[in-house]
């Protein structure tokens, strides 16, 4: 069951990382100027926000867990089941970023969960 453990890390750390980076970027403010020097300034500003570092560390952890999962299971199994991060993203958005999630989006999340269950059952 190591693959289930690694899947949990991929989904939880990946989504957690994205939420932390989103929080950091909201702190930095909207980027409206895309000239190279301005982009570098935004990156430097983002690096000063602790949430950014936590986010990047979590994303790195998710990447290495994905590699570990790919060493155990087929890629046609691993990549589809990591779509569970859409469910984690919707939950994280609601509880962590206080976003409103539409009914339609919940339907999509439910479909993703059903699909992941089918893929998991189809592996057996």
């Amino acid at each position: 069951m190591r693959e289930a453990f690694f899947l949990f890390i991929v989904v939880a750390a990946g989504t957690g990382g994205e939420l932390c980076v989103t929080r950091a970027m909201k702190h930095v403010g909207e980027v409206t100027d895309f000239r190279p020097l301005e982009v570098v300034r935004v990156i430097v500003r983002a690096m000063k926000v602790p949430w950014m570092w936590i986010g990047v560390a979590m994303m790195a952890l998710a990447f290495f867990s994905l590699l570990a999962m790919l060493s155990i299971e087929n890629v046609s199994f691993v990549v589809p089941v990591t779509a569970l991060s859409y469910a984690a993203g919707a939950l994280g958005g609601v509880f962590f970023l206080e976003e409103r999630v539409s009914k339609r989006r919940w339907v999509g999340v439910l479909l993703v969960c059903i699909g992941v269950t089918l893929v998991w059952l189809g592996k057996r």
Binding site: M69, V75, I114
Partner: protein, 188 residues
Amino acid sequence: MMTQESCEIGTFGYEDLSPTLADARLAELCFHGFQPMRSGVYSFAWRVPCMTSSSGLHFKTYCMILIMVVFGPLGNVLLGKGMKNVGSAAIWAPSELPHIFIRIFTSGYIWLGVASLLTFFVAYMLILSWADFSYVQPASSVAYLVVALLGYFYLGEKIAPLHWAGIGVICLGVFVVGNTPPRTTEAR
């Protein structure tokens, strides 16, 4: 210079449509990147970012989506192939981790996979600079199917019918998730 400014390109009346049909028409316009605005009780004006009115931009958008849909799954498949050579994590012991990291970082397939994923990421960032997230994300749901096809044909993986059905439902789910308004935290 390209800007995000929008220009009005036309209106359509709503008297001859039932409310349901009018709503469906509006939803369709939104999906194609138009920004319908109510201009009267029975009519809508629709706005479209000026730059999307050129056919060149449509071509560029389709090219970028193609790059995303090919290089994202290809990157994952190459990572998968590389990791199969490294050995299964099901039997990794903590003391072996330094050796495993060395094997990962000296694998050509892993670096090709990372390069492919970086190409995907750059295309994704570029396309988001002119197209809406709610337009790009449903298109990228096909990537889950492409990954399975690459696994099946290129790596010779066995995929059961239930597994294919699951992948289809996931694609549909991701399409539905992506095809919803990307911003919900504030009213315009």
